[in-house]
Amino acid sequence: MTINGASSEILLKVEDVSLAFGGIKALDSVSFDTRKGEILAIIGPNGAGKSSMLNVINGFYHPQQGTITYKGQTRKQMRPYQAASQGIARTFQNIALFKGMSTLDNIMTGRNLKMKTNLFWQALYIGPARAEELKNREAVEKIIDFLDIQAIRQKAVGKLPYGLQKRVELGRALAAEPDLLLLDEPMAGMNSEEKEDMSRFIIDVNMEYGTTIILIEHDMSVVMDISDRVVVLDYGRHIADGEPHEIRANKEVIDAYLGVSHE
């Protein structure tokens, strides 16, 4: 597989989606496709509706208009846990880890959907429940190794530095072995070294597991580096999409976004 490992098969199709809170339009008739295996970046100024777009995709918000077609199935509404069970995982802009739990337990929680045993066996912690715990622990350890966070395995996540928390959150999302991974500003607040690490992880996830990734990111150099395609939103409207070099040259994008020095 190469960096541009995306096939032409469409994994997710967003069609004509609109979302409003009260009178404010967060998304205004947005449409775009995500191909299987690609890294798609959504960019746009603050308040452009990027996070709302992710929230629509994984069922947290229900759009007033438009459809989402995922793996060939079109739907208007679903609950977030249903999205999860269909292989959509995500991370959050403001880290949403389970603060009272260790790194290991956070990532183990991400395995929830892979675990089936009932309450009775779990209370006894024998037979299938124990076997299941051990099997999934093994899977989680692969992720811990992958993200190089062995040293914080048993630490409570609340006390970890920001960059590591982001990494643990990525781990938790990966634990679900998602087909589609939504990353909401995975590099916000990181220094350049941490950003580099995180970019590496994202590319590795995409390559090693073939996971399709949609990410929101402000750092343009990162976006241009790691994404296969870019979608640009502005005030809830879709104003452009294309490969990074096309976006960089797009006049409308430059006017709406890149030209504005917000850094």
Partner: protein, 653 residues
């Protein structure tokens, strides 16, 4: 099987492997903390892995005399690769994993390397760069596939891949592996180790199977090491000590080698395993002691005072108690309380609770440092050797441990002092020659086959060897008195806040010093005093820090003034350097020994200023290499301070 048979049969490491795989089939041979638990391979399992890999190598044309370049951290597969190469009559060439491309290129070219095994993507990238620079590595095998998925170079293989072809090959030629091992003999080259060398290009030291087995068996007997023992594998694989401890000795004694999860978890991993046999360098011991004292500074008042009390008590009676001397009942009782309160928990937290023997070597250790560890119940012993010796020459015998010596020669090893005061040796374990460097070989061996160590030393009245310094470093001052820089430096390095010292005095009338402070210790000291600082450089230039260092130097001066022959070596002036001495800048070796010649060159102006009483401040600019390989300049305006010196007291000796 009688002992003589054994000597004949088991003359190579692959043969020892086969032997262990039958004798200790179910005994753990190697562990690695991976995926959160200690993955364990018994001798039988390890033998299978090695066989598969060796057969795989053979299918790719690896044969007798071929070198297998090994670069990466201590992992089971890296050690297996060594044995696999040896099984086929090949020669492993382990290399420092943090070596930069230029260093690698030299070794790859010099050793005519065609096959290489690399730990991960980072190392593979380096090897690819080496090839771009004109080397001709024909095959790169990697252990960890992470991030290597899109590498399309056709000569890159995964370890599993090689093993798979090995298994397939084995089905066709089931006895190939065993036949190849049988072809080997003790005289074969076992390993090619490049010494980092304090001067010039590295030299390839050729060690034979028989030589290494000789050394290993002496040590195994000396310390009664058996398959029940264990050791941590954390030293650089290219260092002869790691090769000895985690490979040759491990194969001879059949003990278990334990690889940590990664560098960040090393301490925790060591604590979990609690190795029964441990090797550590004086530098690590220093850092650890600094760490202990720094952390205890933050403990609550009573807790700290009690701790200090017990540590003091240990320094008074601990060593006597451990060497079975007569100690008053009260002192014994207090020591017992200290054992519960401080020493036991301390050993536990440092991971020494289960450690029978701890060896230290590589550099001289400050006597105070040495005594500190022994007094709290860590059985620390000094050993002495070098790569060319394969590697150990002398070691402390139980009951004969002294802080100022490195012990007595191992059985069947001859060590003596030549007419220049240099330590020279003859040993069946000694190296054969420097690879492709007859000139260097000739220089280091004298006509009678004695090998020069380059160290100045002397034998004590009870036959224990004392090492003074590198012979080329030992100088004379202009007034004719002896100048042994390392001796003075070690005394200073005992202070927790001093990390590194370089003293000057050869051919001079006075001694001066260049100091590196310990950022961790001084940083925490500064924090407790609310002294804000931005960087190492900032902290190093603080007058408070200067005063603290000055005090330490004056204490050392008092100490030196007690000994007539050393009184002239009192330090008169010093400067705290604006940067830490760094291996990347060539100032230290990879094993973190000071490269004096380079320091003399780089800081010539500064050194002159130290001897010019007119100058009390000097602007210095230094080229540095940053971690990411970029080059830059660090400059600083450094203060030079004078230090009080003391009159020789009448007492001597």
């Amino acid at each position: 099987m009688s002992d003589s048979d054994k000597q004949q049969d088991l003359d190579t490491f692959p043969k020892l492997l086969q032997h262990n795989a039958t004798r200790f089939a179910n005994v753990p041979s190697i562990r690695e903390k991976e995926y959160g638990i200690w993955q364990t391979w018994t001798w039988a399992e390890a033998a299978e892995e090695i066989k598969a890999f060796a057969n795989g190598l053979a299918t790719h044309g690896f044969g007798r005399g071929d070198k297998l370049f090994i670069i990466g951290s201590n992992r089971p597969r890296m050690y297996w690769a060594m044995c696999a190469a040896q099984s086929l009559g090949g020669i492993p060439v382990p290399t420092y994993q943090d070596a930069v491309v230029e260093e690698l290129t030299y070794v790859v070219d010099h050793a005519e390397v065609k096959y290489a095994i690399a730990e991960d993507q980072e190392q593979v990238d380096k090897l690819l760069q080496v090839n771009e620079l004109g080397a001709s590595i024909e095959m790169i095998i990697y252990d960890d596939s992470r991030g290597l998925g899109d590498y399309d170079a056709e000569y890159i293989f995964s370890f599993e891949n090689i093993q798979a072809s090995g298994v397939e090959f084995c089905n066709k030629s089931p006895t190939f592996f065993e036949d190849q091992i049988a072809l080997g003999s003790g005289d074969d080259v076992a390993v090619l180790l490049y010494t980092s060398g304090t001067t010039g290009q590295p030299k390839g030291v050729i060690l034979s199977h028989a030589g290494l087995i000789f050394g290993s068996e002496r040590v195994a007997t000396l310390e009664s090491l058996t398959e029940k023992d264990s050791v941590m594998a954390y030293l650089p694989m290219a260092w002869v000590v790691d090769h000895f401890l985690c490979y040759t000795l491990a194969y001879c004694a059949a003990y278990c080698v334990c690889c940590p999860e990664n560098q960040d978890t090393l301490l925790q991993d060591k604590k979990e395993i609690g190795p029964s046999f441990h090797f550590t360098s004086p530098r690590v011991l220093e850092a650890q002691r600094t760490d202990i004292l720094t952390r205890m500074e933050d403990a609550a008042g009573i807790k700290r005072k009690l701790f200090n009390y017990f540590i003091d008590h240990a320094s008074r009676v601990g060593i006597s108690i451990h060497s079975g001397e007569k100690v008053s009942l009260i002192d014994r009782l207090l020591y017992f309380l200290g054992e519960i309160y401080a020493y036991g928990p301390l050993r536990n937290n440092l991971g020494y609770s289960k450690t029978r023997i701890t060896w230290t070597a590589g550099e001289a250790i400050g006597p105070d440092m040495f005594d500190f560890y022994r007094s709290i119940g860590i059985n620390l012993k000094q050993v002495y050797g070098q790569t060319e010796a394969g590697p150990f020459l002398t070691a402390h015998q139980s009951g004969g441990v002294r802080s100022d010596t490195v012990g007595v020669p191992l059985a069947d090893v001859d060590v003596k002092i030549d007419e220049h005061g240099e330590v020279i040796f003859r040993s069946p374990g000694a190296f054969r020659e420097y690879y492709k460097d007859p000139e260097a070989t000739r220089k280091s061996k004298n006509a009678d086959g004695w090998i020069l160590t380059g160290d100045a030393g002397l034998f004590d009245h009870d036959g224990q060897l004392k090492i003074i310094d590198r012979i080329k470093d030992v100088g004379t001052m202009s007034n004719g008195s002896l100048f042994a820089p390392k001796f003075i430096e070690n005394k200073l390095k005992f202070f927790a806040h001093i990390l590194e010292v370089v003293t000057f005095g050869d051919q001079r009338d006075r001694v001066t010093a260049l100091i590196n402070i310990d950022l961790v210790a001084v940083g925490s000291w500064a924090e407790r005093r609310n002294i804000a600082y931005a960087s190492y450089q900032d902290l190093a230039s603080r007058p408070e820090v200067y005063s603290m260092v000055q005090e330490s130097i004056e204490q050392v001066n008092i100490d030196l003034s007690r000994d007539e022959s050393l009184a002239n070596s009192q330090i008169t002036r010093f400067v705290i350097l604006h940067k830490e001495l760094d291996a990347d800048d060539g100032e230290l070796t990879r094993t973190r020994k000071v490269r004096r010649r380079i320091i003399h060159e780089r800081y010539a102006e500064l050194i002159e200023a130290l001897y010019n009483p007119e100058i009390s401040r000097i602007q210095v600019e230094t080229d540095v290499v940053f971690e990411d390989g970029r080059k830059g300049i660090i400059s600083g305006n450094l203060k030079i301070r004078d230090v009080k010196i003391f009159q020789t007291t009448q007492k001597t000796g």
